[in-house]
């Protein structure tokens, strides 16, 4: 448009009208925050995972299992009679794309909740968007904690839950001396801080701690150090492709699994299948879920998932199960919100989150058994289990927590304060919202 006098006049009069009558032009706060649920219309949710790039291996499975869970919920009548409609995007393993796509899903697609991410880096990339729009993110896998936002719900184990049983179990069965190996980023380092506390309580001794660049497949130098240190077992937080190289080279370099097993937080069914079961056999994994869990709900879940069009990879993995749970946590939260307001059109993302404290997924739905969401920090109460990899690559559960373990995002940072539903309350009583 040319800047002529007439245009200028027209525009400024429009602007004046807008200022004079703001209610005509500005959406109400509720609309701005994307309250999108309409009676009789599908419930839109965003699936924000990487379908290409380095992160595609775990995240493609997350997308598939979410679609499976949504199909299952829709087949059983949806949520309060409304079907869920997933909006699937590809985050391309690129943190900028994560943030862009999160914005697109929330603002343009007006989804009521996001399900997404597998790494802390991508979660931290999208959280500012999620928080500024007061939307809701279901983070469906394990992470390190040390976050207290009012817009996330996590269905995986926190660092304080993950290795709590594993370290004492390994010390008791294999000996006191341990070597830590991890990928070089935030989650392994924070997990190792937790593990050190459990190790101290169990009377163990830390012989060394090494970090490998993400994606590196050269474990020669680290295995050389482990050979010299002679630990009784290795505690591993190596992730992804590196993890597979680590287990392969462990065996190729002549290490014996009976004498020095690897106790991992990540090496599950998909990893052992990718490395070949002979490299995984004998090692240990701590997770809330294994494909071989012996209960009717899980047997039904495994059988019907693998038969469905989403089950082509042939396994159900702890990460997939945690993702599956997030769909049911969402369902329970939304139902609670509808019950509270009595009208689906008044439900907002934030309201779903606020009523999700204490929401339970019973053991007739949850393959890992009953779980519930903590009313303060909105992480999950669960029972960590320890599995040992068998010759065929499946896991045999050798130990299971007797009680549910509470999630505590600040367990190793008591000075930071306590995470509550309204924000992080510091020891001096000051409360801060959205701490990441």
């Amino acid at each position: 448009m040319d800047l002529t006098r007439r245009n200028l006049l027209k525009r400024s009069s429009l602007a004046a009208a807008a200022i004079a009558a703001p209610h005509l032009w500005l959406p109400t706060a509720r609309e701005a925050w994307g309250a999108t649920l309409k009676k009789g219309e599908p419930i839109k949710v965003g699936l924000l995972f990487s379908l290409t790039g380095q992160l595609a291996v775990p995240e493609e499975d997350s997308t598939l299992v979410m679609q499976y869970a949504i199909d299952e919920i829709n087949k059983n009548g949806g949520i309060a009679g409304h079907p869920i409609q997933p909006v699937i995007v590809d985050a391309k393993s690129d943190f900028n794309v994560y943030s862009e796509k999160a914005k697109e899903l929330i603002i343009r697609e007006k989804v009521i909740a996001l399900f997404g991410c597998y790494t802390s880096a991508s979660r931290k990339a999208i959280l500012p968007v999620v928080m500024s729009q007061n939307s809701l993110l279901y983070y469906p896998t394990c992470y390190e904690g040390a976050e207290c936002t009012q817009n996330t719900i996590c269905t995986g184990p926190l660092a304080n839950q993950h290795s709590k049983d594993l370290i004492p179990y390994m010390v008791k069965n294999f000996g006191k001396k341990v070597f830590f190996v991890g990928s070089n980023y935030v989650w392994p380092k924070e997990s190792n801080k937790n593990a050190k506390i459990w190790l101290q309580e169990a009377g163990g001794e830390l012989l060394g701690e090494e970090y490998i660049p993400l994606g590196s497949s050269e474990f020669g130098p680290v295995l050389g150090k482990i050979r010299d240190a002679k630990p009784n077992f290795i505690f591993s937080t190596v992730v992804g492709a590196s993890d597979i190289a680590f287990h392969k080279q462990f065996k190729q370099e002549g290490f014996k699994v009976d004498a020095m097993p690897i106790a991992s937080l990540t090496t599950g069914e998909i990893e052992t299948k990718a490395m070949g079961p002979e490299f995984g056999a004998g090692h240990f994994l701590s997770a809330p879920y294994f494909q071989t869990l012996d209960n009717p709900t899980n047997q039904k879940f495994v059988e019907s998932f693998l038969k469905s069009k989403y089950g082509k990879n042939g396994s159900t993995h702890y990460n997939m199960e945690e993702t599956y749970l997030s769909a049911y946590v969402f369902k329970a939260g939304l139902e609670a919100a509808i019950k509270k307001t009595g009208n689906i059109e008044e439900v907002t993302s934030r309201m779903i989150r606020d009523v999700s404290g204490g929401v339970r997924v019973e053991d007739n739905v949850s393959p890992e058994g009953l779980i519930w969401i903590d009313g303060d920090n909105f992480n999950t109460w669960l029972k960590p289990k320890i599995g040992q990899c068998q010759a065929d690559g499946s896991f045999k559960v050798v130990s299971q927590a007797a009680e549910h373990v509470a999630p505590d995002p600040y367990s190793i940072y008591p000075n930071a304060g306590k995470c509550t539903a309204a924000g992080l309350v510091a020891p001096d009583g000051k409360s801060r919202k959205n701490v990441i």
């Binding site: 070089n184 590196s216 492709a241 370099e253 002549g254």
Partner: protein, 294 residues
């Protein structure tokens, strides 16, 4: 140093030789293509990846034993390289920046193509049981498979040196490298020399890939992990075969020794800093050949 300290240190040197051999076999195809044809081949990592997938496919669908998969993946990836050279690269020889972009495009196409065919879940190459143990000689301990990689790398280097310095074809290649027009005026078909060299370079990357698939993992994105090391070796070496051998040996040993003395992450940092400093003073690498500007 007491004798107690010497053993682990010597072990680190042995391991350094192994790391060097892995980096060298990753880089040798790139060396040939860059040194001869002058193409900065961004798709080199994907040629490595194709080699790994070729071995995987031949093994799991045709039941070919692993040792036969090695030459087979050389042939298959060489043919892919040939097709890419004929269909695309040969039109861009006089435009080095365009080859950079074009080969990068090729790398994306190959990565997505493999993902469409095989899916993005990791695959796995089985090897004979004898490759899954280690040997200990006195102080040193190394896995059999690392020894196999060292052996194959030595063979490949010897064969490449023979091909380029002892055969008629090699003489033609070197002539074209020095001055394409002059060589052409003596009746050498430069086009054909480029085509053959590119295919051989691609094939060698494929061979390396089938070894890496055993050491680590078979994934559509596996090539990116190796291509950086490969470029490093070529740049430090100066683009000649001898240069690459020396550069791989040096960087591999340094990486292993630094990692032994500090840790893996810091070792990498230190190595890269040293390389940057080195290139500041010797921008053309260790053994740069004098060649006519193309």
């Amino acid at each position: 140093m007491t004798s107690l300290d010497i053993a682990p240190f010597a072990n680190a040197l042995v391991l350094g030789a192994s790391i060097a051999s892995i980096w060298l076999i990753a880089a040798i195809g790139l060396t040939i293509i860059y040194g001869t044809v002058g193409v900065i081949n961004m798709a080199h990592g994907e040629f490595i990846m194709l080699g790994a997938y070729t071995s995987y496919a031949l093994q799991s669908f045709l039941g070919l034993p692993f040792l036969l998969c090695l030459p087979a993946s050389f042939v298959v990836v060489a043919l892919v390289g040939l097709a890419i050279e004929r269909g695309l690269i040969r039109y861009l020889y006089n435009r080095p920046l365009d080859t950079l972009l074009a080969t990068w495009g090729v790398s994306l196409v190959l990565m997505q193509g493999v993902r469409l065919i095989f899916g993005s879940d990791p695959k796995y190459i089985a090897v004979p049981e004898m490759f899954q143990s280690n040997v200990e000689v006195g102080f040193a301990s190394l896995s059999v498979f690392r020894l196999v990689v060292i052996g194959i790398t030595a063979l490949v280097v010897a064969a490449t040196a023979w091909l380029f310095y002892r055969t008629r074809f090699g003489m033609q290649v070197r002539a074209v490298m020095q001055n394409k027009e002059m060589a052409a005026s003596f009746g050498i078909n430069a086009d054909r020399v480029y085509m053959t060299t590119f295919a051989i370079g691609a094939g060698l990357a494929g061979l390396a890939g089938s070894l890496f698939g055993v050491l680590a993992i078979v994934l559509p994105t596996m090539g990116t992990a190796y291509v950086v090391q490969a470029f490093l070796v070529v740049v430090v070496g100066g683009g000649t075969l001898l240069g690459s051998v020396a550069a791989a040996g040096l960087t591999g040993e340094l990486q292993s020794v630094f990692a032994f003395l500090t840790n893996d992450t810091f070792a990498r940092f230190l190595l890269y800093v040293l390389i940057v400093v080195f290139l500041r003073f010797r921008p053309r690498g260790l053994f740069a050949v004098a060649k006519a500007r193309r």
